[in-house]
Symmetry: C2
Subunit: 283 residues, 2 copies
């Protein structure tokens, strides 16, 4: 596995790969790699000649009061995880190389798709995501790029960006990886105290219940939301940020009846740690 | 010359070209082609295997009170001009194919670079330009793209976008083409009455005078601006929008003394027609 810390080092390798017709897969990450990331890297390794994992904690997607400074960093361990999963290249540039100018060029997806769900409390988050991903796409020109369904809204926003701007890349979306007890793998799980970690089990439990009543025929979104809310509120350590249902693809509004595939997504704080999770309700 | 009216038609050709290693040059235009455009197409033809000219009057770069509806359209003549200059492909898509969604994904260069000069009175103009050019770059993936120095601010904004987002394209900037009397070629010259057209000669005259006093040693930007202002104001049919000097590259602020290469740029209305022109003052 090759470690590239600068753009010229990276582009020497990608230029060679493109010139010789080798396919390139990209897994963009912020490090703190867990089994969710590993599943993306494995898929990337299987489907491409060269697998590149970027590790970059992107400052522009964090709000002023968010956890940029304390976001978990574990570079040595990340390299092991990535290599074991099949990464050929790790790209880990300095922030000032990816953001050379204080006057930014932004790539921004507008509309409800970036205003609902996490967009309500994280108004600049997706602008930061779409901007950094555009930079990585342009630098690497991957054939395929891998993202996790865990970040369901990010997936829809990136799909819209790629479609609207005609970016020549195939997005590959991989399923959520969970702990055996149901907690979705997340770098932010490292923040949880043992008591909070136990409390988080309520998330998957609530989503499973929603799926069960949906499968049993419940099609009223308000009834489903109310059920999920009641279950999560039964856990004293939880504090709900949002519980929402939107149409898929593109997080379009639903009517009174769920008559198309829908995304049920939640964001809940446990102590200072805000976790997201989701489930797809397929009609 | 091949005429492509849809993205699939275009991409069939560009995919083939990329697969066989042919270089592609792109000349993005809004039609109403004149000798300025022809000079870009000729350069493109000389420097690339395949020359693509896009003809698309881009709605998102016009403000609500600007001339989108009456912008000159002369498609049949444009095809002749483009073919004569060496175009291999004309790409002229419908607006709803380039803008499939009412919720836009914008590419926006921020900072003074888009706020000075035309940015003062055309606040959404450059956002529209950078967005459509990004779409064309992604669709075509040209090796080189050609723009005229006439749109000096556009050139600097696009240079910054390409640099900030690491877009894999080489920008080729071609000199201003002028009528024999000095008027810079522009599609909007078609709007001028004969009396206005005569009056516009004051623009080039004022820029030439500025260059002369600069060459003679004048380094105070205010003195140069005053000289240009007095000359343009001597023409009764003129109405000044702006006369400004900024540092190059990137339209950075100047101090009291012009101690680096600078851009002297003007926007002046003659009747309802707003024209821009510029000259580079090279230290």
């Amino acid at each position: 596995m090759i470690l590239c810390r600068t753009i010229p080092e990276l582009q020497k390798l990608t230029t060679e790969a493109h010139a010789t017709g080798q396919s390139i897969g990209l897994v963009p990450t912020m490090g703190a790699l867990h089994e969710g990331h590993a599943s993306l890297i494995k898929a990337c390794h299987q489907e491409n000649t060269i697998s590149i994992v970027s590790i970059f904690v992107n400052p522009t997607q964090f709000g002023p009061n968010e956890d940029y400074d304390k976001y978990p960093r574990s570079f040595a361990k990340d390299c092991q995880t990535a290599e074991k999963a099949g990464a050929d290249i790790i790209f880990t540039p300095a922030a000032d190389e990816l953001y050379p100018s204080k006057d930014m060029t932004w790539v921004e997806v507008t509309g409800d798709i970036t205003k609902v769900l996490c967009g309500r409390t994280r108004p600049i988050h997706f602008r930061g995501v779409t901007t950094i991903i555009t930079k990585l796409f342009n630098l690497i020109q991957p054939d395929k790029a891998y993202f996790g369904q865990k970040d369901a809204q990010q997936v829809e926003v990136l799909r819209k960006m790629v479609s609207d701007l005609f970016i020549p890349v195939e997005l590959r979306i991989m399923p959520i990886i969970r702990e055996s007890d149901g907690l979705a793998k997340s770098s932010r799980n490292a923040y949880l105290t043992p008591a909070e970690k136990t409390a988080t089990l309520i998330l998957y439990k609530s989503l499973q219940k929603a799926k069960a009543i949906f499968t049993a025929g419940e099609r009223n979104p308000d009834n489903i939301l109310k059920t999920v809310q009641q279950i999560i509120e039964s856990e004293p350590l939880s504090s709900i940020d949002y519980i929402e249902i939107h149409g898929l693809p593109a997080l379009t509004p639903l009517t009174d009846i769920i008559d198309k595939t829908a995304l049920l997504a939640v964001a809940v704080k446990f102590g200072n740690t805000r976790l997201i999770d989701n489930i797809i309700l397929e009609v």
